[in-house]
């Protein structure tokens, strides 16, 4: 009897877990849809921005803006901004980014900046200190969060040769890829510089500073929203398969439960019939 009860208890607990994973999947799918909408909107904006800075950087030979063009790499150090999530339960989303980051660190000694608690926890454990750390807001807030990150990156760039973003590029619900994107300088070493030069209205420096600021803002927004969509889509998939697994577990436990119950009944029947047979024989 106690075995039956144990199995019954087990089934109940798996059912409860399944309820939870199903709820989480539903929450993720709502979030995913919301983030995806924002991401699809941000995409063309970032594309136009990238086109503009690239064109400006390539057109002008004597460009003095270090963000757009750098010919001398004298700092001997690069900065990689790693974007992970704050929470787990999203399959290999965080570990994929971290794996890529550690592979990079093995190749060359980068300084890192981290967005997201998961990444921070990992690198703390590794004993690698990060230059700066932001919690992942979990929602795409354009205003303050992106602004803060942009400002920090702008300030820190002075002590680095290059700045990269390591984040998860969202392709579709089934495909995500971790990608390393160079943010600064836009043009490295000798650029084409063959095209006609750009005419500037008013002060060149001022225009370019504003351009760089806008470019960085849109790059951060793009990376963060791409990461957010990827995270939710990963969580959705992970929770879906967890719900599925629970379903399978429940059905196999049900089989065992029925078998054990039937065995107990059969045993009882045998006991009764053998008892009555004993009475007849008396």
């Amino acid at each position: 009897m106690s075995k039956i009860r144990k199995i019954k208890k087990r089934i109940d607990s798996v059912k409860k877990t399944q309820k939870m994973t199903r709820a989480m999947q539903m929450i993720s799918s709502v979030k995913f849809r919301k983030f995806d909408k924002t991401f699809q909107k941000v995409k063309p904006s970032a594309k136009v921005m990238a086109h503009v800075v690239e064109d400006v950087a390539q057109r002008n030979r004597g460009l003095a803006n270090p963000f757009l063009r750098k010919t001398k790499m004298d700092k001997q150090k690069d900065l990689v901004v790693i974007i992970t999530g704050d929470r787990g339960l999203c399959g290999n989303y965080n570990s994929a980014v971290i794996r890529e980051a550690t592979a990079l660190l093995k190749k060359s000694d980068y300084d890192i900046g981290v967005i997201g608690k998961r990444g921070q926890m990992f690198f703390e454990g590794l004993g690698k200190s990060s230059e700066f750390f932001f919690e992942n807001p979990g929602a795409i807030s354009f205003g303050s969060f992106v602004q803060e990150v942009s400002e920090v990156v702008l300030q820190r760039y002075a002590s680095y040769d290059r700045v990269f973003f390591l984040y998860t590029e969202f392709v579709n619900t089934l495909t995500r890829k971790v990608s390393l994107k160079k943010i600064f300088p836009v043009c490295e070493g000798e650029c084409e510089g063959k095209k006609a030069e750009t005419l500037y209205e008013m002060d060149e420096k001022e225009v370019l500073d504003q351009l760089v600021e806008e470019y960085l803002f849109s790059s951060v927004t793009y990376a963060v929203s791409s990461a957010a969509v990827s995270e939710e889509s990963a969580r959705m998939a992970a929770m879906d398969s967890a719900t599925h697994n629970a379903e399978e577990m429940i059905s196999s436990l049900n089989l065992i439960y029925n078998r054990v119950r039937q065995a107990a009944i059969t045993k009882e029947m045998i006991e009764i019939s053998s008892g009555s047979e004993a009475l007849v024989n008396v």
């Binding site: 063309p44 500037y200 001022e206 225009v207 504003q210 351009l211 806008e214």
Partner: protein, 89 residues
């Protein structure tokens, strides 16, 4: 196709958050910082910040106007990119 029909500017207007307008324009008037600038097919590469004002876009269907608050205009090989900080319309 006559030559005149091909002479359009490829115009993309985007804000920080989204695409505002995209299409072909025959003439464009933007509020550059020191004064309005008219842009047509074949304009030299150009980069300028924008002040608060109106953008007039002349297309086949007529003229469209957009109010903008700050931004940057960039012209290169007949592709015009307008990054506007905020559009009130």
């Amino acid at each position: 196709m006559s030559k005149k029909e091909e002479q359009f500017l490829d115009l993309k207007i985007v804000s920080r958050e989204k695409k505002v307008w995209e299409g072909k324009a025959s003439f464009l008037l933007v509020p550059a910082l020191d004064g309005d600038v008219g842009l047509m097919f074949g304009h030299a590469p150009f980069l300028s910040p924008l002040r608060d004002g109106r953008i007039d876009v002349k297309t086949d269907e007529g003229t469209t106007s957009l109010s903008v608050k700050k931004g940057i205009v960039h012209v290169s090989s007949n592709v015009v990119s307008l990054l506007v900080e905020e559009n009130i319309d």
